[in-house]
Structure formats: structure tokens, C-alpha cells
């Protein structure tokens, strides 16, 4: 990216540059609310950051992990659509089961702008995610993976920054102790009675466990 940094403002507007000092102040990029007040409060800007990669580590599906992002997906389809005139696309790559259309419609997702991709291999899934993130027509890309290497994650992060999309990667918990370029990493695990949520990396914020309020 041999872009000429012409002014300080330009550099600061770049999503790859973040300032530790005023992390809680509203950033230039929009953020999408998580739908949970206690989680919003812990995230810089008060919601999921766009133009970045979020990594969710969990072992089994069914912990409400998609639920965590549905309000943001609805919100970004609505808000981005209002400014650009055409509702943006959501791309789900290699979901573990069939996304159930009535549930998504119930949540408020515009189904005519939802694309589901079923690649044959992990490499193809990563390639598809990179394409979708960098295309600029997708508001959010959700990707489910079993494992991947650091190099690919870096590419995804760059693509998300270029395309201004919200990138979410779901991975098994065993990758917890590997390094990751994601700007936000969280671990979800079963708990009694609620799902436990643990922020293990927050760019511009403090890591630590989060109490999810009842939805």
C-alpha cells in the first residue's frame, strides 16, 4: 500500500491506526451496536468496529454467537443502505448448518441481500472471504473455520480495511493462544446459566470477562 500520507488527519482516519489515548471517544468509522449494553460499554466506540476483523473463539455452536451479531447486521444493512441507496450485502461463508431463513427474516435481516457461500476447502473459504471483504459491496462477512494460519488472517484484515466491511471469524477455542491480527478477540464458552464471554484482545480497550445481560 504505497499510499502517500499527506496529512496527520489522513493517517488518523486510517483504520489501521488507532490511538490508545482516546479509545473511548467516537472513532471516524461507524460502529454497530451489539445489542447488549454491557458489551457495548466495553468496546471502543460502543459497538462492533467496522473495517476490521473480529475473531470469536468457541468450541460448539449454540452459544448465541450469531445472536451477538444479528442486531449489528440488521443495523448496518439499514444504515449503509440509507446513505448509498442500495442495501449492502451480507456474506456468510461456510456456516456449520443451514442458515434458517425464517429466523433471519424474523430478526430483520434483508434476505434478498444475504449470500451464502459453501466452499470446498478452508483455503477456498479464506479466498472467498478475502474477495467479499475487499469488494466494497458487503457490509459484513461472517466466516466459520476450523483452523487457519496467521498469514491468511492478516490478508483478511487488510481486505476488511480496504472494503470497509465488518469481518467476523468463528474459530475453535484451541486457537486462543495463537497470535492473531484481529483487532478484537473474544472467547465464548458455556456457563451456568448464561454463556460466558471473555474479551482477550481489544484494540483501544481493556480485555477481561463481560457479563452479558439477559437479552
Amino acid at each position: 500500500m504505497p499510499r502517500d500520507p499527506s496529512s496527520l488527519a489522513d493517517i488518523l482516519a486510517d483504520a489501521r491506526v488507532w490511538k490508545l489515548k482516546d479509545a473511548s471517544a467516537a472513532p471516524a468509522r461507524p460502529v454497530w451496536s451489539t445489542g447488549s449494553g454491557s458489551l457495548d460499554a466495553r468496546l471502543p466506540g460502543g459497538g462492533w468496529p467496522t473495517a476490521s476483523l473480529i475473531e470469536v473463539l468457541l468450541d460448539d455452536t449454540g452459544l448465541g454467537e450469531v445472536q451477538l451479531f444479528l442486531p449489528a447486521l440488521v443495523e448496518c444493512q439499514r444504515r449503509v443502505g440509507q446513505t448509498s441507496g442500495d442495501a449492502p450485502w451480507l456474506v456468510w461463508i461456510a456456516p456449520p448448518h443451514e442458515p434458517y431463513a425464517p429466523a433471519l427474516a424474523q430478526a430483520g435481516i434483508e434476505l434478498t441481500r444475504l449470500l451464502i457461500v459453501r466452499p470446498a476447502s478452508a483455503t477456498e473459504a479464506l479466498w472467498a472471504a478475502e474477495q467479499a471483504l475487499g469488494s466494497g459491496v458487503c457490509a459484513a462477512v461472517l466466516l466459520w473455520l476450523k483452523g487457519t494460519d496467521d498469514r491468511w488472517l492478516r490478508r483478511l484484515k487488510l481486505a476488511a480495511e480496504a472494503g470497509g466491511a465488518l469481518g467476523v471469524l468463528f474459530r475453535p477455542e484451541r486457537h486462543r493462544f495463537e497470535s492473531s491480527p484481529a483487532s478484537l478477540r473474544l472467547v465464548m464458552s458455556k456457563g451456568e446459566p448464561e454463556t460466558r464471554l471473555d474479551l482477550i484482545k481489544v484494540q483501544g480497550g481493556r480485555p477481561g470477562p463481560v457479563e452479558l445481560g439477559s437479552p
Binding site: 449454540g62 443502505g81 442500495d86 434483508e110 459491496v137
Partner: protein, 496 residues
């Protein structure tokens, strides 16, 4: 001048003939009325002003002039293809050529007269064109489609071809034809023969209402069309165009990278070809020929109609990237699918400009994904108003890419089971469950579908697996049901 004088004489003679007939039939009121109907309308008025009336009337009304060519030797099997080829020849003389099954062509030549000479000359020139192709043909020119066809079918026994330009002489000339030239059904012709009608003239003299009753309204309509009193729209032949370019390599190409380089100018020309025609394509086929063995075929599908070089290159590169050449390539051929007109929806003029910033349009993204992952791997979902959970959704492969969707505009109908909990994931097939679930919500009774043999009678619950249960998603929120007849439990969805 000479010709015009001759034509005027003919018209006068014809008018006199018509007048004589009218006078002879004076006594029979009904018959004279039918003569009015089918003979040239000017005929009855002819006696008072003898010459000019029919001619001016005719000249004014002959809006069209049709050349018909009947090819009696075309066989059923190849007639269709042959006629299409002959159309291409005929398009030298006029822009309007129509195919008349089973074995005839119709050319509208009125518009060509100014450039290509008087009707007789033009007619002779078109005939010469068939002679050069060594095709036996019978032809005729008349002011109406059916008349031209009938004259052509009846054949020119005298050797002189029939060229009728004047509407006023048309009824008189038609009267000489045998009724078989109409190519009506055998039953209809037999009915007419039983009535003692063998010539068109006898048919034209019959009362109109009775004719419609005895034959059919369609027959009377045919007569009207032949006499140019009713328009008979025809569909013009439009040749199908495709882009096709073959490229032979001097040396055999072994790697895909070289192939891509060689394809670049071909795609450029293809895009140029499409741009000139303001058309786009949705499919492309690349055939790679080897020294031996079968050719390799690469089929490309685009998500929407396009003529953009960047998109064509993009998809081709994706496909080629995954291709393994079995043998070195000697030649390649790029062939487009049917050309389709570019509509405003498929024109992405601004997308091309934005392309410098690395931005795509949705169709571009979809076709790139499909080119690499396969057509079936990229799809959308719709929700269907149905009570049975497994029938309440469907995959869609035809994505609504072309039209923009205004924000806030809801396209999906609200679904059955509103307000009831529905899981984000649905299992392909319900999974039998062991006991030991903690039921949290429910039951929701779903009983439906008895009419199509896939009826269900189930009680759905939202459940949670206890922590520590073996072989279950632990602590997960599940959508389970109990089949009401067998009392068995199944897992059907996961609240993710």
C-alpha cells in the same frame, strides 16, 4: 412513361370488366352486394369517370409490396435451417425478410424501390440471386403478403413472373388463381370443390356472411388479407449474432499463464464487438484444442449480462487458474453465448470508474466466487410462508443482483410462526436425541402438510443441554421436538 401508360390501360380494362360484371348482376340484389364487397371498391363507381379513379386509389393504397419466394424442393428436415440461410441472402435486397413455413420467404420491397429500381427489375434481380444458388424457386410480387404467396405457389407456368404493383388490378388477377394455391386444409378445399368453386374468382364472388359460416371466419380474413384490405403483420427475420474468434498458436502453449496472455487481446476484441452492438453476454465458452485427444472446454457463466472487458477477464482468469491442462494447447476458440441487449440495469458505467479504487459491484463479486467455487456453492435463501419448519425456506440460485434495493424496503413477506422462537441454524434432517434435556420454552404445536404425504405432527420446545452431558453440544440452546405419534425426541435446530 411507357410502363405507366400500359398500367393505366390495364387498370381501365379491369375497371370496365368490374363494371360489366356489376351491370350484369344488377337484377340480383344480394349478389351485387357481394360483388361490392370483394371486387375492387372502385369498380362499381367506375362507369361515370372512366380512367383515373381506380389508378389513383390503387397507387395511394398500395403501402407495401411483397415479394414471395417458394422453394418447392426444400425438405421438411432442413427447411428451417435453409430458410434462415436464405434470409441472409435476401437481406441484401430489403431489411424486412420473414420466414413463411414450411418453405417460403416473404420480402417487403416497397422500401427498396427507390434504391434498387422499379419492381420488375428488383424482382428479376432477386430471382437471379436464387438462380445463382441453383435453387429452384417460384416467385411473385404483389401488394399483399398472401396474394404474393398465392401467386408464387400457383407457379408461373407461362415463364413470365407475376409482378403486380397496382392494388386495383389485384382482385382481377387473383380471380384467375386455382383455390389450391391458398394452401388451406384439405377439408376446406373439398368443401369448396363440392360447392363447385375451383378458381379464386368464383370464391370472391360468394356472399361474405355465408362464406364465413360455411368455411370459417379465418378463411374470409385470409381473403381480406390477400386483397390488402387487412394488414397481416409479419415478424422480420433477425440473424443471431455471436462473437467467435479462433486463435492458432505458432508453438504449443503449455502453461495457463501464457494462455491468459494470449486471451487478453481476444477478450478486448470481444468487448469491443459487444460495445458496438450495445449488447452483452451472460455465457462464454472457451475451447482449447490439443494435438490429440478431446478438446478442453471451459464454460463461463456470468452473474449478469455484461460487455465489460474487466469482468470478462476476471471470470476467465478465475476459471483458468483452476484449470489443469492435460496436454499442450495448439489452438483456442472463444465463443460467446447469445447476445442480449444491455439494459440500464446491467449497465454499470460507474462501477468501471470506481474500479480504479478496487471496488466491485455485487454481480462481479458473485460471478468471481462462482467461477472459482462452482455455480452451486454460492446461493441465497428465501423464507416461505409455511408451517412446517423444513418447508419454510428454500435456496435460490438466481440472485436479485440487477436491481438496487432501497434501504428499509421490505421484500420478504412476514413468515408463519411470527413471534415464536426460530433458531438460526436448521439441521438438514432432524437428529434423534437421547433424553436429559432441560426444556425451557414450549410447546409449540406444528401439525401440517397431511395433504402432500410429508405431514408432520410435532411439539417444538426450546431446550438446553445440561453441562457435562456426553456427545451433545454442551450448554447449547437447541430447538427440539417430540413427534406426537412415536413420542420420540429429535433435534431440529440450534440457537446460535
Amino acid at each position: 412513361m411507357n410502363r405507366r401508360a400500359k398500367r393505366r390501360q390495364e387498370a381501365e380494362a379491369d375497371a370496365r370488366r368490374g363494371a360489366r360484371r356489376a351491370r350484369a348482376q344488377d337484377g340480383h340484389a344480394s349478389i351485387s352486394r357481394t360483388a361490392d364487397l370483394f371486387a375492387a371498391p372502385a369498380a362499381s363507381a367506375a362507369p361515370a369517370p372512366p380512367a383515373p379513379a381506380p389508378q389513383t386509389a390503387g397507387r395511394k393504397r398500395a403501402q407495401q409490396l411483397w415479394y414471395a419466394a417458394v422453394f418447392p424442393q426444400l425438405t421438411e428436415a432442413d427447411a428451417d435451417l435453409m430458410l434462415q440461410k436464405l434470409c441472409l441472402h435476401a437481406q441484401r435486397f430489403t431489411s424486412f425478410v420473414s420466414i413463411e413455413p414450411p418453405n417460403a420467404l416473404l420480402l417487403e420491397i416497397k422500401g427498396s424501390l427507390q434504391l434498387l429500381g422499379p419492381p420488375e427489375t428488383l424482382h428479376a434481380n432477386i430471382d437471379a440471386c436464387w438462380r445463382r444458388l441453383e435453387l429452384p424457386v417460384r416467385s411473385a410480387t404483389a401488394p399483399s403478403t398472401l396474394a404474393a404467396l398465392w401467386f408464387a405457389r400457383s407457379g408461373t407456368h407461362t415463364g413470365r413472373s407475376v409482378v403486380i404493383e397496382d392494388l386495383a388490378t389485384l382482385p382481377g388477377r387473383l380471380a384467375e388463381l386455382p383455390i389450391a394455391c391458398t394452401a388451406w386444409s384439405i377439408e376446406r378445399l373439398q368443401t369448396l370443390r363440392a360447392m363447385g368453386v375451383t378458381r379464386m374468382g368464383e370464391l370472391l364472388r360468394l356472399p361474405r356472411a355465408g362464406l364465413a359460416r360455411r368455411l370459417s371466419q379465418a378463411a374470409v380474413q385470409d381473403l381480406d388479407i390477400a386483397l390488402a384490405r387487412q394488414p397481416a403483420p409479419r415478424r422480420a427475420f433477425v440473424p443471431r449474432e455471436r462473437f467467435r474468434e479462433r486463435c492458432d498458436f505458432e508453438s504449443e502453449i503449455e502453461t495457463v499463464a501464457y494462455l491468459e496472455k494470449a486471451l487478453e487481446p481476444v477478450i478486448e476484441r470481444c468487448a469491443q464487438f459487444l460495445r458496438e452492438r450495445q449488447a452483452g453476454v451472460q455465457t462464454l465458452r472457451l475451447t482449447l484444442r490439443h494435438r490429440e485427444g478431446p478438446a478442453t472446454c471451459v464454460h463461463l457463466g456470468l452473474a449478469s449480462i455484461t460487455s465489460e472487458r474487466r469482468r470478462l477477464t476476471d471470470v476467465l482468469t478465475q476459471k483458468l487458474g483452476r484449470l489443469e491442462l492435460p496436454k499442450p494447447v495448439r489452438s483456442m476458440e472463444l465463443k460467446s453465448g447469445a447476445l442480449q441487449p444491455l439494459s440500464a440495469g446491467s449497465l454499470d458505467a460507474f462501477a468501471g470508474l470506481a474500479g480504479s479504487g478496487g471496488r466491485d459491484t455485487a454481480p462481479q463479486l458473485v460471478e468471481r466466487l462462482r467461477a472459482r467455487l462452482g455455480e452451486e456453492a454460492v446461493y441465497g435463501v428465501v423464507s416461505i410462508p409455511e408451517h412446517r419448519p423444513e418447508a419454510a425456506w428454500r435456496r435460490v440460485h438466481e440472485l436479485p443482483l440487477a436491481f438496487p434495493l432501497r434501504a428499509g424496503e421490505k421484500t420478504a413477506a412476514q413468515n408463519a410462526g411470527d413471534g415464536m422462537p426460530r433458531p438460526v441454524w436448521l439441521l438438514e434432517a432432524p437428529l434423534p436425541l437421547a433424553d436429559g434435556l432441560i426444556l425451557e420454552e414450549g410447546p409449540e404445536r406444528i401439525e401440517s402438510g397431511w395433504w402432500d404425504g410429508r405431514g408432520v405432527a410435532r411439539d417444538y420446545y426450546v431446550a438446553r443441554t445440561p453441562v457435562g452431558a456426553p456427545r451433545q453440544p454442551q450448554g447449547a440452546k437447541l430447538w427440539v421436538f417430540q413427534e406426537r405419534q412415536s413420542r420420540r425426541w429429535y433435534l431440529h435446530g440450534v440457537f446460535a
